[in-house]
C-alpha cells in the first residue's frame, strides 16, 4: 500500500481543511487579529431573559417546581425529598393554602443526572411557569440547575445541597441546610475531640463535587486541629471494587477512615474494608443518610459515625410531630432529606405569605431576609450568602440504626 500521495489524485474530500490552503491561513490570521482586539465585558451581565409572566399575581394556584432524583443510583434521596415536600404542601393546603390559594407541586425526575436536572429546571420555568424551584439534594445537580434559575430569575431553594458553590455569587439560589466547610469541621472536631483520633485516611468520590469538596474541608479542619491525614485515596461513583484503595489505606494503619460519599458506595466500601481486616470506624457526611445504607453495608457499618442535619431522636416537639405525621403518611421514619424537603417547601410558602404577592423578585427578597424560621431541622436564618446557619448532629450507627451521638453548634 503506497503511503505517498499520488499527485494526480484528488486533493481532499470536499471542503478545504482549514490548514490546507493559503487562503484559509490568511483567513485564520485575520480572525486571530480581530479577536485580539477584544475587551472585557461590563461585569453586570444583564441577567438574561426574565421569564414571561414574571408577575403572575393573579394566578389561581401557586406552583412549586420540584426536581428530584426519583430513580437512579441515589434514588432514596429524591424519594425522601419528594415525600417531605409533598407532606408539607398537603399540610399547608389543608390549612387553607397561602394567600388563600392552594399550592401545586410539579415534580420531574432527573434520573440522577445533572443534564436532566438542568433540562427539568428549564421545563419547569419556561413551560410550567413555576413560582419557586425546589431542588436538588445532590450538589452536582443543584449546580446544574442554579444557572438556569439565575438566568430566568426564579427563586430556587435547595433542601440539602451542601457544596458552597451552589449559592456562591448567586442572587436567586438559596438553601435550607448548612454548607460543607462547616460539615467538614464538624466531623474533624468530633474525630479529634470525641474519638481522640489523630491519624486518619480519606477516601473520596472523585466524580462527585460534594464528596471532593467535603473531603477537602475535612482535611483542612482536621489538620488545623492538630491531626494528620495519612493518605488520600479516591474512587469513582459506581465502582464496585475498592480493595485496591483500601489495601493502600490499610498499609498506613489509620485510626479512622473518612468516607464522604453517597450511601450506595459507602455500604460496599465498609464491607470490603472489614474483609481486608480494617476494623477502624468509618466517618462520613450527610450523603450516608438513607435506610438502604444498612441494607447494603450490613454489619460492616456498626460503630461508624456520620454528620447529618437532624436526628429522629430529637425530643423537640416540632420534630416529633413531624416524624409522627410522616410515619402516618408513609409508614417509616423520615430521614434528613425528607425533613429538609419539608422545611424547604414550608419556607417557600412562608416567604410568599410574608410578602403577600407572587411576584418572583418579592419572593426572592422574602427568602433573603428570612429570620428565625422554625424548621424541623432547626431554626433557619438565611445569611448573606443565602445559606442557613444551623447546628449539625453526629450520628452513630448502632444496631442497624443511626442513633444520636452529639450535636455541634456552628
Amino acid at each position: 500500500m503506497s503511503k505517498r500521495r499520488n499527485p494526480h489524485a484528488p486533493t481532499g474530500v470536499g471542503q478545504h481543511r482549514p490548514f490546507a490552503s493559503r487562503r484559509a491561513c490568511l483567513l485564520l490570521l485575520a480572525i486571530a487579529l480581530a479577536l485580539g482586539a477584544c475587551e472585557k465585558k461590563s461585569s453586570a451581565r444583564s441577567g438574561g431573559r426574565a421569564t414571561s409572566g414574571g408577575g403572575h399575581a393573579d394566578a389561581a394556584e401557586i406552583l412549586f417546581g420540584e426536581v428530584s432524583s426519583l430513580t437512579g443510583p441515589e434514588a432514596t434521596f429524591g424519594q425522601s425529598q419528594s415525600r417531605g415536600i409533598a407532606l408539607a404542601v398537603r399540610e399547608i393546603n389543608e390549612a387553607g393554602g397561602v394567600l388563600g390559594r392552594p399550592i401545586r407541586v410539579i415534580t420531574y425526575d432527573n434520573q440522577g443526572k445533572p443534564t436532566e436536572s438542568a433540562a427539568a429546571a428549564n421545563r419547569l420555568i419556561v413551560r410550567d411557569k413555576v413560582h419557586v424551584l425546589l431542588g436538588e439534594v445532590a450538589s452536582s445537580r443543584s449546580l446544574a440547575m442554579a444557572p438556569i434559575a439565575e438566568e430566568h430569575r426564579v427563586p430556587m431553594i435547595s433542601p440539602a445541597s451542601t457544596n458552597p458553590r451552589v449559592t456562591e455569587g448567586k442572587h436567586w439560589v438559596f438553601r435550607v441546610c448548612f454548607i460543607d466547610p462547616f460539615q467538614g469541621l464538624v466531623m474533624a472536631k468530633f474525630a479529634r475531640e470525641e474519638l481522640g483520633v489523630s491519624r486518619v485516611a480519606v477516601l473520596r468520590d472523585v466524580r462527585n463535587d460534594y464528596s471532593v469538596g467535603l473531603a477537602s474541608f475535612f482535611i483542612r479542619a482536621f489538620e488545623d486541629l492538630g491531626g494528620t491525614v495519612l493518605i488520600d485515596q479516591s474512587y469513582s461513583a459506581g465502582d464496585i471494587d475498592f480493595r485496591s484503595q483500601l489495601t493502600e489505606i490499610r498499609a498506613k494503619q489509620p485510626e479512622a477512615i473518612y468516607v464522604p460519599g453517597y450511601y450506595t458506595d459507602v455500604g460496599l466500601i465498609a464491607r470490603q474494608a472489614r474483609e481486608l481486616g480494617l476494623a477502624v470506624p468509618l466517618l462520613g457526611g450527610d450523603g450516608w443518610d438513607s435506610s438502604k445504607l444498612f441494607e447494603i453495608g450490613g454489619e460492616a457499618m456498626e460503630g461508624s459515625f456520620f454528620s447529618n442535619h437532624y436526628s429522629f431522636e430529637n425530643p423537640d416537639p416540632v420534630v416529633q410531630t413531624f416524624i409522627q405525621k410522616y410515619r402516618e403518611a408513609y409508614g417509616e421514619v423520615p430521614d434528613a432529606l425528607a425533613a429538609l424537603g419539608y422545611d424547604a417547601a414550608r419556607l417557600a410558602a412562608d416567604a410568599i405569605e410574608r410578602v403577600g404577592t407572587l411576584e418572583r423578585s418579592a419572593i426572592r427578597y422574602a427568602l433573603a431576609t428570612t429570620r428565625n424560621f422554625r424548621g424541623v431541622t432547626g431554626t433557619i436564618t438565611i445569611d448573606e450568602d443565602h445559606n442557613s446557619v444551623k447546628p449539625a448532629v453526629v450520628l452513630k450507627i448502632r444496631g442497624g440504626k443511626a442513633t444520636f451521638a452529639t450535636s455541634i453548634e456552628p
Binding site: T71, S234, D239, S244, E275, I296, G298
Partner: protein, 300 residues
C-alpha cells in the same frame, strides 16, 4: 510487599471474574465471528436470577443452597442464551457481519431497557443475599484472603478446567473447534452446526451466569446496568488473549484483572476504566490477534 501481595490476591480474584465472562465472548466469536454484545446482559441476568432464586427458595443450610442457586442461574441463562441465538442471530447467519453486530447491540440494549422497567427489575440497585458467610479465611503476614475471594477463584478455576476438558477432550468440543475453524466444511463433514452453535451459546451463557453469581456475592450491589462495564472489560480480556482462543480468554482475564488492580492501587482509581480501554487499543493497533491468536490472512 504485603500490599503488593494483597493487590495480587485482589487482582486474581477480579481477574477470574473477567475470565469467566471472557470465555463466553471468545467461544461465540470462535464459532460465529460475532461479538455477542448481549453476553454482558446474560451475566447480569445470571446475577438477578440468583437474587430471585435466593428470595423464593426456602432456606436450606448454607453450602448446598449456594450450589443450588448457582446451578439454577446457570441453567436459566443457558436457556436464555440459546433462545437469543435462535431468534436474533440465526436468521442473520448469512447476512453481512455488520448486521449481526448491530443486532447483538440491539439485544443487549433491549435486555437492559426491559430490566430497568419498574415491573421487572427496576433501575435501582438491589442487594444480593449473603449465601456464603463473608469471613477472612486466612491472613498471612497481613495479606487477607476473604472467603468470597477464595470461592470466586475456586469456582472460576473449576469451571475453566471443566471447559478445557469439554473443548479439548470430548467429541462435542472437537465439533465446536471444527465449526470455529471452518463452519461450512464442518457441516460437510456431518456436524450439525446449528446444534453445535446452540450448545456453544449454552455453555458460554452458563459461564456468564456463574460469573454473575460470584460477582453478586462479592459485590452485593446488583443493578440492570451492571453488565455494561464489566462486559466491555471482559471483552478487552478476550481480545487481549486472542479472540477465539480459550486459553487466551483465561490468561487475558487474569491479566486485565491484575493490571487494573495494580493501576488503581499504585496509580489513580479514576483512570481505572481508561487503563482497560488503553490496553484494548494498544493490542488492536499493534497485535490484533492477541497473545495467543494467530494472524489470519484473508484470502480474496
Amino acid at each position: 510487599m504485603t500490599e503488593f501481595l494483597q493487590h495480587l490476591v485482589n487482582g486474581l480474584s477480579l481477574g477470574s471474574v473477567y475470565a469467566l465472562i471472557a470465555l463466553g465472548y471468545t467461544m461465540v466469536y470462535g464459532v460465529l465471528q460475532l461479538i455477542n454484545f448481549a453476553h454482558a446482559e446474560i451475566f447480569m441476568l445470571g446475577a438477578f436470577a440468583g437474587y430471585y432464586a435466593a428470595s423464593w427458595l426456602p432456606a436450606f443450610s448454607r453450602e448446598p443452597r449456594f450450589l443450588v442457586i448457582l446451578s439454577l442461574a446457570m441453567a436459566v441463562c443457558a436457556f436464555l442464551g440459546v433462545v437469543i441465538e435462535r431468534f436474533a442471530y440465526r436468521p442473520l447467519r448469512d447476512s453481512p457481519r455488520l448486521n449481526a453486530l448491530i443486532t447483538a447491540m440491539g439485544v443487549s440494549m433491549l435486555i437492559q431497557a426491559i430490566g430497568q422497567l419498574p415491573f421487572f427489575m427496576g433501575p435501582s440497585p438491589r442487594f444480593f443475599p449473603e449465601l456464603i458467610p463473608n469471613v477472612t479465611l486466612a491472613s498471612i503476614g497481613g495479606v487477607a484472603l476473604g472467603s468470597l475471594q477464595a470461592v470466586t477463584l475456586a469456582a472460576a478455576l473449576v469451571l475453566m478446567v471443566g471447559l478445557h476438558r469439554l473443548v479439548f477432550h470430548t467429541r462435542l468440543g472437537t465439533a465446536m473447534r471444527a465449526v470455529s475453524f471452518d463452519g461450512k466444511t464442518a457441516a460437510l463433514m456431518g456436524i450439525d452446526t446449528n446444534r453445535v452453535i446452540a450448545l456453544t451459546f449454552m455453555v458460554g451463557s452458563a459461564l456468564a451466569a456463574a460469573a454473575g453469581i460470584l460477582v453478586g456475592l462479592s459485590y452485593p450491589r446488583i443493578e440492570p446496568t451492571m453488565g455494561v462495564l464489566l462486559g466491555l472489560k471482559a471483552f478487552v480480556a478476550a481480545v487481549l488473549g486472542g479472540i477465539g482462543n480459550i486459553r487466551g480468554a483465561m490468561v487475558g482475564g487474569m491479566t486485565i484483572g491484575l493490571v487494573e488492580t495494580m493501576a488503581v492501587g499504585y496509580g489513580s482509581s479514576s483512570y481505572r476504566d481508561a487503563v482497560s480501554f488503553g490496553i484494548l487499543i494498544l493490542v488492536l493497533v499493534f497485535k490484533p490477534s492477541g497473545i495467543f491468536g494467530r494472524a489470519v490472512t484473508e484470502k480474496v
